[in-house]
């Protein structure tokens, strides 16, 4: 697989504020690449530079072999954007939104009509063809944004937090559609705060924090390398920590105290559970390690504002 996007020491500054601080990464053609991070980590800024709506401050960024630049219409032509905000045209109907948007890409009218029929089916909005945007639910609006992003048959699809504010049904429908697109050969770039979303969709992810990339890798391997297989959460008073840690350190690869909970990361929680029963500790929970643990371990468990 070829490299479709390459960033080298990519930096973005807004005045004095550094949003992206010299990151480097490569995205391969046909993969789903995820940018994970808390609010303000620089994910959206990074993808904005990739799809050429925000100028690069320094470093290099090439997309499909060409430098990303705000005036690069050729790159915009091969890219489809599913924006974070619901930026649909409220003065137009569902169909009008799509037909006008297809104009922006110079798609001939008869071809546009065909694609719109196809896409409305793809996102299950055929019945809403002539609805006004205000009459749609949030889930429908998000699906329409997906359809709109696909009008130009993009080789590169950028989805910036595409399922924010959706109920589980609507979210799963979007995930299925995004996976289908990837299977059809499109390259997918996803930014998200939902760990499950990244796990469901991404071949590779980077975890960003304060404009930097903290870790890069395949989601399942990242979890295994950073956390292990299982997490045991124990709720005991802080004073008992030392004693418990002394008893359990042999079973785990790491521990962390946050608020009322003591976290143990381990390969296998089984032995630890036996030990806990011996120690007469009952307020605990064993669960598989997740990307969320990696995320929280890397970006810190405290609130980010």
């Amino acid at each position: 697989m070829g490299i479709i996007i390459a960033a080298e020491d990519l930096t973005k500054k807004y005045g004095e504020f550094t949003a992206v601080a010299g990151i480097s990464f490569e995205i391969r053609e046909g993969e789903c690449f995820g940018f994970l991070g808390p609010n303000g980590a620089g994910k959206t800024t990074t993808v904005k530079m990739i799809h050429c709506v925000s100028p690069v401050t320094s470093g290099t960024l090439t997309v499909d072999g060409r430098p990303a630049h705000i005036d690069n219409r050729a790159l915009k032509k091969i890219t489809g954007i599913i924006p974070q905000e619901i930026a649909l045209d409220p003065d137009l109907t569902v169909y009008e939104n799509l037909i006008i948007f297809s104009k922006f890409f110079d798609i001939p009218r008869h071809e546009a009509r065909r694609r719109i029929a196809e896409l409305l089916k793809f996102v299950e909005l055929e019945a809403r063809r002539n609805s006004k945007i205000d009459a749609l639910s949030t889930g429908m609006k998000r699906r329409l944004l997906v359809a709109r992003a696909l009008l130009n048959r993009p080789r590169l699809i950028v989805a910036d937090e595409p399922t924010t504010g959706l109920d589980p049904q609507a979210r799963h429908l979007i995930w299925q559609r995004l996976r289908e697109l990837k299977n059809q050969g499109s390259t997918l770039i996803l930014t998200t705060q939902y760990m499950e979303e990244a796990y469901q969709l991404c071949d590779r992810i980077v975890v960003m924090h304060q404009g930097k990339i903290l870790k890069e890798g395949v989601p399942s391997r990242l979890v295994e390398a950073e956390i292990g297989r299982e997490v045991v959460e124990i709720r005991i008073p802080r004073e008992e920590d030392e004693a418990v840690i002394r008893q359990l350190s042999g079973f785990s690869c790491g521990h962390e105290r946050v608020g009322d909970t003591l976290y143990f990361y381990c390969r296998d929680g089984h032995d630890m559970m036996k030990k806990l029963t011996e120690l007469d500790v009952h307020d605990y929970l064993t669960r598989p390690a997740s990307l969320e643990d990696v995320f929280l371990k890397l970006t810190g468990r405290s609130l980010i504002e």
Binding site: I70, K76, I81, E85, D91, E96
Partner: protein, 255 residues
């Protein structure tokens, strides 16, 4: 400036959405000039006697014609554009497609001047129905051309205001401090000859004064050499305003 034929697509988007507002905007476009024509033209005109051998309405109509173009195109590029920019985030969607920021802004300026033209034409129809006719068919055609130029000029000026506007309230400054005074000091309602000389000088700096001069000359078919200068002012200012408007809006759009 990265301009292309895609300006037309932006114009088209506005035209499609216009379907829903067409009745209300036609009403507004008609009522305001009618109000001027009736109150000033018929009401006040009764006391005014003849203006250069013709009823006052012949003096008033060409001025109201271009000032209604000014109003419509200014408001479209202020309130209309601001809603699309801040509330509907339409510009963000546009610039993610092959439509450039420049195309998007120029498309909205073109649209606003079209709205100005529509107001002007409606106004002219009303005037014609009242029996106030331009001197020839050529005059009608030239007035259309003039209205397009005036529309682009005031749309661009308003777009500059929008490019720095933090909220709707900001537009009040421009409307109350620039547009309204211009309406009264540009010779729309009464000739400027009796103004003190400093006011005459001031009025020469107002683009509407020049637009009114040209409009009145074209309407009556009485041309004089000073019109060349008036036209030059309009074209020159228009080019500068358009350039600043597009550049300033691009700065606001692309960060």
């Amino acid at each position: 400036m990265n301009l292309s034929y895609r300006i037309y697509y932006v114009f088209l988007r506005n035209l499609v959405s216009y379907k829903r507002f067409v009745v209300s905007t036609f009403l507004v476009s008609l009522v305001e000039p009618l109000f001027y024509l009736i109150t000033f033209g018929i009401g006040m005109g009764a006391y005014m006697g003849m203006f250069g051998g013709k009823p006052y309405l012949y003096f008033l109509v060409p001025g109201v014609l271009v000032s209604s173009v000014m109003m419509s195109s200014s408001f479209e590029c202020m309130y209309g554009t601001f809603v699309k920019l801040v509330h509907e985030k339409l510009y963000d969607s546009l610039i993610a497609t092959p439509v450039s920021a420049e195309d998007a802004v120029a498309g909205d300026i073109a649209w606003a001047s079209f709205r100005g033209l529509v107001s002007g034409v409606l106004m002219m129809i009303v005037a014609i129905l009242m029996g106030i006719l331009p001197v020839s068919i050529l005059s009608v055609f030239l007035l259309f051309v003039l209205m397009i130029f005036v529309g682009v000029l005031f749309a661009s000026l308003a777009m500059i205001v929008t490019s720095v506007a933090p909220s709707f309230d900001f537009f009040n400054y421009y409307t109350e401090l620039i547009i309204t005074p211009m309406l009264f000091f540009s010779g729309v309602f009464f000739p400027l000859d009796r103004f003190p000389s400093w006011m005459k000088t001031l009025s020469r700096f107002m683009p509407l004064t020049h637009a009114v001069n040209i409009s009145r000359a074209v309407f009556s078919g009485e041309y004089d050499p000073s019109l060349v200068a008036s036209f030059a002012v309009i074209i020159g200012l228009e080019a500068v305003a358009f350039y600043i408007a597009v550049t300033a809006m691009k700065k606001r759009l692309i960060k």
